[in-house]
Symmetry: D4
Subunit: 230 residues, 8 copies
């Protein structure tokens, strides 16, 4: 991605491309190192497809998160080298596989957290990272975590998706000396309150330096990890 950036002033921009219902910020690739990412929720399928087409026409790697199956199907018809990871609801194009340096470990506490972990994995890969996925190492059977610790320590950044009380990031944070991004998930019920319990858990983690993103925001964690690896 570095090739898309230059050092001219941040206030001198390429103008946005105006689609009427959207202003595509092509300049973002130069400014931030990665093109605008489409937030698929709340957009009509036609809008998603139109924006995706324009971005893929100008950039190699493109992401659309929270994309429903219908919009994805339409997009794949028009952008044949795109792909769709259904469980994570990510539509993407990945023409340049490796951009950033170093590996990201995506650790997930339980099998039910997989959709969020997969969003983090796919997004990190499209953003140019190498990813190691470690699944189902929640603290109720903590030896499972110890068995994977060397794998996790081999990464330069660790993403940890956990729902319910989200205790795993705190334990993990006490065992590794890498930046740790916690993704609280909405897995749970009752007093989980849609992931609030997990979110408060990671925000109050006793492991120093634990970072938090929004509930179920695997993409945000991946994006931050990619920034760290560049």
């Amino acid at each position: 991605m570095a090739d898309e950036r230059n050092q001219t002033s941040l206030l001198t921009h390429e103008p946005a491309e105006d689609l009427g219902f959207a202003q595509i910020d092509h300049d973002r690739a130069r400014r931030l190192g990665f093109p605008e990412v489409i937030y698929g929720a709340g957009k009509e399928a036609g809008e998603v497809v139109a924006i995706f087409k324009r971005l893929t026409a100008r950039h190699d790697n493109v992401l659309c998160t929270r994309c429903d199956a219908q919009a994805a199907r339409l997009a794949l018809e028009q952008v044949p080298d795109a792909a769709y990871e259904a469980r994570a609801r990510v539509l993407y194009c990945r023409r340049r596989p490796t951009i950033a340096l170093g590996k990201v470990a995506v650790v997930c506490a339980g099998t039910s957290d997989l959709p969020v972990a997969l969003e983090a994995k796919v997004c990190a890969e499209v953003l140019g990272c190498e990813v190691e996925l470690v699944v189902d190492v929640g603290v109720a059977g903590i030896h499972r975590l110890f068995a994977k610790l060397e794998t996790i320590r081999s990464a330069r950044v660790v993403i940890c998706a956990a729902g319910m009380e989200a205790a795993l990031p705190s334990v993990l944070g006490g065992l590794i000396d890498r930046p740790l991004i916690a993704v609280p998930t909405s897995v749970g019920y009752g007093a989980s309150f849609g992931g609030l319990a997990a979110l408060l858990g990671t925000l109050n983690s006793c492991a120093a330096g634990t970072l938090t993103v929004n509930i179920d925001n695997g993409f945000g964690a991946a994006y931050a990890a990619a920034l760290m690896l560049r």
Copy 2:
């Protein structure tokens, strides 16, 4: 609208029209300058249509917000010069296009905020305002906002619909010297909590004088703007 008002005492009213399930406040046009607006949610289709018919029989411009497609279809059969903006769920009659003076800018942070922005736009037009719609100028690519700033400054009142963290009204408020009405939207997920994050954002805006209406309440913003322009 001014023609419908007069200066007799506010306590001497035209009696409400009694439909059994509703008391139509025809006097409101005299008192407030615009007829009663129908809140479509929670009403049966037949009730919506009956009230809409009575209001359109007496007044030129009439609004029904949060009107579902079925009630709208029935209403359009009976009031042929009515119209329905489906994405904003607004049913309306607009026989007198221009009443208020000056322009309202409706600015929206992202494409996903469009339904709310459209509610504001259509309502403001039915209330007699001229409207300029500016879409997808969220702060993550702030030059898009700067490119539209003169357009926005040409309006006498600015409405700004924004979801997620709703940072746009704060930035906008620091750049214009017009009354600014923020409409937090429910766009977002997780810790957005149905628009609560955006709502708290606009209420706590560091830009002095930012005004807030309910989450997704494009209509309320439009109504307040129309009051300012009269």
Copy 3:
């Protein structure tokens, strides 16, 4: 305490002693195996002392929780064999040291959780249990917990006081086969929201069977533990 109970109907009671501002439930010792416990908060010092005197006149072991220093001082003047644990704000009389069978482990995540852990410890002792206190074994340095694991496993019931995100009960619950009572504490700041984060953490624990009491309620945990040991 067993000696104070008998098997007559629960609906045939010794009448309460009426102090005007309080109805002392002396029958509780027969019914539940332990006399009424005084909740000191919100009572005037004179009221606390009067109730404490009546209870200590009839029963060997008596507890008053959330008792401020002034009320305690007055009570100690009038009941010389009483004692006051200031950090836990517990006023008590403990004339019969051992009643229940088996040991309770009171584990606390950090030094800041000590006041709550001490409340649990003192109350459990007054309720007749033997107590082992294990301090500062939070998950950020998990080997500290492993070093104490045999001590903890030697207890029949485990109480775990933890604030912030309260991850310790989940880890502990995956390592022991004893009933585990989590006491979320108000230790923390910001998004701890007075202990809410810890409370939601223990309620959503992925460790099966984790039990929760109110925030900072060391007494409640001790009482439940004593019921289990009888």
Copy 4:
């Protein structure tokens, strides 16, 4: 289950069985006395079935909670001696009926609380307990509770499922000298806020020692009860 445990160090484990999407913690039976329990929500049907098959291949009594009907149907085809309690959404295998000693009373405040009470009942049975179910003895007709009091008192542990304001555990706690586990349920509407009212009710119970689990978590209560009875 005791036979599955031994006294070797808690840190020397049988390695987890790796299914890719899950790490089955077979060692849990040795460590905690009961095999890993499957949390069915958020898992794909195929994942639930695969894990259930592996666990039933190695252990006698196996539980999967929050299992939807489709996953249950598939599992029953592959594990013929399994069963499904539809109202409680519990899939289970129960080849060894009695393991723990003593009886658990499962008391439920109203008929609408039955699904949660049934989850507690089925889980406690699979965990090896004998269970007595007492239904619809809410406090609005308190004599119904008195009529069942001897039955309840014959148990060694009492589980009480109650929704709305969840007053029953407080009343019950004042009448019995057994450990009492309250399960707040999501029964109610409006200011029940999905069970929050009941949850706060049991957490603030004036009956000393009332223990609480997550909203609708009949399983957790059963698990804790089984730990107490072993």
Copy 5:
């Protein structure tokens, strides 16, 4: 109070007395049967005293709630036949003792709820009711309640002040056939959240027809009771 009312139109009022910082609604006695009640919180002592003097100059029975000690002292100097109930923070004048017919029972769950119960008692008396106070009959020792049941049943309206989980109103509501007004109190800690737990408890009461007022609002309950007895 009936003498102060007449049947002329509610829209023909005696004008308010204008003190600059307050508009005293003397007409309220005619309209509602009792003069305006002063809300002492947030007012300066001088303002409280001035309003209290004007009201006592025109009316026999006058109430000021949430009045701090300093304002009360100043008021008592100027209105010698006034009185102050310090624990309930009520300043009042009661020159006509009995106005309403029938008795109000004020029941309070614990001694810590006394300040709220006293506010209800004093206010009900100033509003002309006869009051019976029943203290410390919380559900943890339910026979205490049964012992007072006939006393409670002799009243025409029952007010019940309860904090923590506020289970008492639900039990009481199942035993009496009188209107029952629950006053949730802020007694409690942790997950009591300043009385929220008690408030949700009474709002969700399974006892049909339980009425609720604001947390700690003994006055409101008394006022409603007086309305019922007139």
Copy 6:
């Protein structure tokens, strides 16, 4: 209803009728003056019908609230003189029309509040009250309220259903000298938070003595009103 009550001790009860899944409290008619009311939500249709049949076999007037259409249809087949008010979801039998003395006014702020107002109306009628329904007199057109004031004042108790900000009860409470029961409704969106805004509104009403029931709980208001009128 008075005929069903007698003065024998409240602790000597007719035993509940045991249906297995329910304990019918037939004694409630004697104790409280009205038979047990069925809460239909969360019960299976067969359970609702069975309980309804038993109650109608023994009592004249019987209520089931929150009854879905399917359960109602089955019940009507088996209890031919029952009826179902679909919009309010109330299934009922009303063989004795008038029991209580005096009239209840059910006032509703907007047409969208009608389902709740109808629940209050039907329930009050089944409980033996005469009811006057006043619809759509919200404060935005306050003269509509004044036009109905004499009608409302002719009632002995007033129920007021209002959603959104629920300002109507406060205005009404300043104009009438009757007990006022506010029913906050879930009508609204965004920051209404399912009726929370309306609930907080009525709890904090500046009109002295405003009573509140749960959100959308028209039944509870009706029941309390009936208690006041007996």
Copy 7:
């Protein structure tokens, strides 16, 4: 203020004055028509005074809100023509009395809301508006409002400060055809939750177009009103 503005590009700014701990935005007067307003809370007294001095050295009218008495005293020593409104905690300089055209009405529901209303009044005056203050016209005695209606209607913008349930803005909004800015106040207790009840009340107002600012934010309302009057 208009004289301080010009039409050069908003992106060409006068640089901020750098005090180390603050960057004074002198350009704001040109850009927005009024100099930067100091938020006094959380700043040390010396910081407040230093910024206030710099602003008053360059601008005629200057505002510092939430200024404590000590900082105000120090500032008054150094800026002799400044003033301090203690109850509203506003420090200000007002050398040019009238700038904007037309009058603002500041209406306040109760005497306890006066500090917020005074903040609105003083700020609006410093911002150049003429202000009419109307106090204590809450809805519980609605004729007091009617008596002031002509006064209120003579203003071009109306600010309404109200605590507790904040019903006044809804009533007012139905009676006037002016922009209405509601300021929810923290007046109240219990379920007022620090002004949350009032805030939700104004956000959900049934009066179309009601605008809301933060709890107790009299300044924000005044600023928005001044923008409307320019």
Copy 8:
């Protein structure tokens, strides 16, 4: 710090030093690269000093956050080369100034956010980073931010402390290609709810990859930044 770490197994630890009230985790320096950090809140002054002495006896750079002035004074007497940053409440020892590579920019939105920004700055320095502090560049005067942009871009990691609605991180995130850690602060009032508004703002940021730590947690942000720079 790298010198304190080695590559032996994470499960072979130096035992914790047992002070009775604390288990000092000296091994943390080896495991995580920095010694245990003392959380001063809730600890008695003597406890803080004892732990601080032990840590400074073994390690060069030591941190104690949320340390009150009294504990700091005692510690400085015993550890002469320690220092105390009063506004940030950080007690520390910094014997090795530079450990990590690269610079951290600490950006703060307003002067009132300075205490949090200073906590971040001091902690980052003790953790071995070079720090650039940029103060008072909030979005209401966005050119102040642009003026500092090159300074900010020269850092490898950016920390941004912002209260109220916390819009600054979103704007900043759209302008820089560095990892961005947002620290929501409790600066604000009313609907800020102690920093909740700012917290939800940063969690929902539309700027991809924004990372969040707990409210006012300058330390956590610094710690994460240091991990990124090693």
